[in-house]
């Protein structure tokens, strides 16, 4: 009886790929703990990975939505950089904190609206439009300022301080080997924002009508249309949400680094795409999950940390190892999916 019920609801592709990602992360981290010890044994290591990558997690979540809907957005990193730059310039001119947040959200929203409209209503290929969006955002960033802008605003400095010092968990900390003091584990507020984004988007994708619509249009556009889903509007919304998330990521990045810089978030779009893919999102659409994306980001970061800890710590080895690992994951996913689809046909 129990067996029968199980058969009726096998794991979907989304769940399967997500499970693979989580398993790989756990196995890899345990291997790192056993192999390299040192930093990997402290909770702070995981917290550091989160602290450094909060913007990437937020951006990758937005990208996951777009990719589930069958599109692609490569402007995210550039928009993040533009937001950080314009907010820091505004704050340095003595602006208001609330308005700076609004500017961040507004820039993200504007890019989302423009790209979403052009892609869904004018039916232009998403790659081209978001490529143009990327050029536009990067160009605007350098037009604003070529030099790095450190924020000197008093309120913002207080916020940065709060960002770094609010969440301290003493019992997860470790005793410093140098002077024997207890160093509490520190988590930044940006990570809380990132995790909140992950959970909200997870709920949206799982239970909300719009979220289910993303899967429908990504899986099969024609069937989605037949089911009465407003395909154009749903696609439009996926880009708008992605744009707003890039705006949030930009502000979180500014909170973390405290300066706007033209080279901020360089290559972030490719990292975010890689994270989403490793987490089990298919570029063809219809399959994916933000929880998987979150673990995809963590896998990428863990790879980097392992390479740094290992004897291969040369600048070129880091990227070559990342590429090799990426290769293994991608082939693994493809093999698993093809074995499954063969099994189904039988």
């Amino acid at each position: 009886m129990n067996n029968k019920v199980k058969r009726r609801e096998p794991l979907t592709d989304t769940q399967l790929l997500m499970t693979i990602a989580i398993c790989i992360f756990v196995v890899m981290y345990i291997a790192a703990m056993l192999g390299f010890r040192g930093g990997f044994l402290h909770v702070q290591q995981i917290f550091d990975m989160l602290n450094d990558n909060a913007p990437l997690i937020i951006v990758a979540c937005g990208l996951t939505i777009v990719m589930i809907g069958g599109g692609i957005d490569i402007s995210v990193g550039a928009v993040t950089s533009l937001v950080a730059m314009s907010c820091s310039l505004y704050l340095n001119k003595g602006g208001n904190m609330a308005v700076s947040v609004l500017i961040a959200l507004g820039i993200g929203l504007a890019f989302g609206l423009l790209q979403g409209y052009l892609i869904s209503y004018l039916e232009i290929q998403p790659f081209i439009i978001t490529l143009a969006g990327m050029f536009l955002a990067r160009g605007l960033t350098t037009i604003l300022s070529v030099n790095p802008q450190k924020v000197e605003h008093a309120d913002f400095k207080a916020l940065m301080n709060a960002n770094q010092n609010t969440i301290k968990i003493p019992w997860l900390g470790y005793i410093s080997p140098k002077n024997g003091n207890l160093i509490p584990a520190t988590l930044e507020l940006g990570v809380v924002i990132a995790l909140a984004c992950v959970i909200i988007i997870f709920l949206l994708l799982r239970f909300h009508k719009l979220g289910r619509g993303f899967y429908a249009i990504g899986g099969n556009q024609t069937s989605a249309l037949m089911l009465g889903i407003n395909v154009k509007f749903t696609r439009f919304m996926s880009y708008v949400i992605c744009g707003v998330l890039s705006g949030i990521a930009g502000y979180v990045l500014l909170m973390h680094s405290g300066a706007g810089n033209a080279t901020n978030a360089a290559g972030m779009e490719m990292n975010a795409i890689a994270a989403a893919i490793i987490g089990g999102t298919l570029l063809s659409g219809g399959v994916g999950n933000v929880i998987g994306t979150f673990f995809g980001t963590m896998i990428l970061t863990t790879i980097n940390k392992i390479v740094v800890a290992s004897p291969l710590n040369a600048p070129w080895w880091q990227k070559i190892t990342t590429g090799g690992m990426l290769c293994i994951f991608i082939i693994l996913q493809s093999v698993v999916l093809s074995v499954r689809s063969k099994g189904r046909k039988k």
């Binding site: 052009l118 004018l122 990327m134 033209a262 590429g323 290769c327």
Partner: protein
């Protein structure tokens, strides 16, 4: 009769509308802005040769690498319905291999250049085959499969030459990257023409074009018709590998050194853009090489125009983006349909009014 000729006009030009319109707009804009933009002069270069010089020549010259890459990229796009984002990194690898072989010999002769070129080709083809295997055998989307090489390619290039930016100084390399003595046209332009002719000949004497299109339009249907679609996809990546090697070598020869970080940087995005401006469907299927080549020149013409207008090089991207958006909006299917509708309505109204007059 008139209708028929209209159809031919539409079918023949349809795909090339966007790139040709773009070129026309740029030319007219430049003519109005500054007619001397197009002036071409003959000057003596530092080696004492008579060479052509002027904005137009520098546009055509600078777009050479991009044009070669765009041709290969068009094939991959048509066959696989996706793009290779690793071309810049692969070109850096090919360029490094080229320099490595040149440096391993005692002196640089014509023979060693040919050997180095062949080695670079083989290396680039191997990396192309790696990408192609992932795409065709493992059925991974091209952008993801090539993301691997995009991530680690430049690091591999760094590793080949031991990390320094190695200069190569030789009259032969100068001739490849600049001018052959006695010929006033830059050599890269001649290489582009040569590559285009080779493509044309291959398409003429083999069924590659037809097979690629049918695989791109419907892979399983092509397979049922006896076309080995796996092989065609793999082949398209290997051909792109050759194009990558050629582009990498032009890039190295132009500068006279290999810099693994900056050689053909960001060229992958431009190459994809050239394919798209050329009116090719990025989802695969029918393609026109000519469109992509014109697309490459459009991109460089735009860049040079912006430079001529004294736009700082860091800001060029923003203006480029605006022009791209305008171009694709004009070329978008929805806008096209609306214009067609409007035209027929005007035609109908004219006919009605003419009938009324009669």
């Amino acid at each position: 009769m008139k209708n028929k000729s209209n159809n031919i006009f539409k079918n023949g030009l349809g795909q090339l509308t966007i790139p040709l319109v773009a070129i026309c707009i740029l030319v007219v804009f430049n003519l109005i802005r500054d007619p001397s933009f197009f002036s071409i002069e003959t000057v003596f270069n530092s080696d004492g040769n008579i060479v052509l010089s002027g904005n137009l020549i520098s546009i055509i010259n600078a777009a050479s690498e991009l044009a070669v890459l765009a041709m290969g990229m068009t094939l991959v796009t048509a066959a696989c319905g996706g793009q290779d984002i690793s071309v810049g990194a692969a070109a850096a690898i090919a360029g490094s291999a080229f320099v490595k072989v040149l440096k391993s010999g005692p002196s640089i002769t014509a023979f060693s250049v040919v050997i180095a070129f062949l080695v670079a080709c083989v290396v680039a083809m191997l990396f192309g085959a790696f990408n192609g295997t992932l795409v065709s055998v493992f059925k991974i989307q091209p952008m993801i499969a090539t993301l691997i090489l995009f991530t680690c390619g430049r690091s591999i290039a760094y590793w080949i030459n031991g990390g320094a930016s190695v200069p190569v100084d030789s009259p032969i390399i100068k001739a490849i990257g600049g001018f052959i003595p006695g010929i006033p046209v830059p050599t890269p332009v001649l290489i582009v023409i040569l590559v285009a002719i080779i493509f044309k000949l291959v398409f003429h004497f083999t069924s590659l074009e037809l097979f690629t299109q049918s695989v791109g339009i419907n892979g399983s249907a092509a397979r049922l018709n006896g076309i080995n679609s796996t092989f065609i996809k793999l082949l398209s990546f290997i051909i792109l590998g050759v194009c990558v090697a050629v582009a990498g070598i032009i890039g190295v020869s132009r500068l006279g050194l290999i810099n693994h970080e900056t050689l053909l940087i960001d060229v992958e995005m431009d190459a994809i853009l050239a394919v798209a401006i050329g009116g090719n469907n990025l989802g695969g299927g029918k393609f026109k090489l000519l469109g992509s080549i014109i697309g490459a020149y459009v991109i460089h013409m735009l860049t040079v125009t912006l430079y001529a207008m004294k736009v700082p090089s860091t800001d060029v991207k923003a203006y480029k983006a605006i022009v791209i958006i305008i171009l694709v909006v004009i070329g978008s299917p929805v806008i096209k349909a609306k214009i067609t509708k409007l035209m027929t309505r005007i035609k109908n109204r004219k006919q009605i009014s003419m009938k009324g007059a009669q």
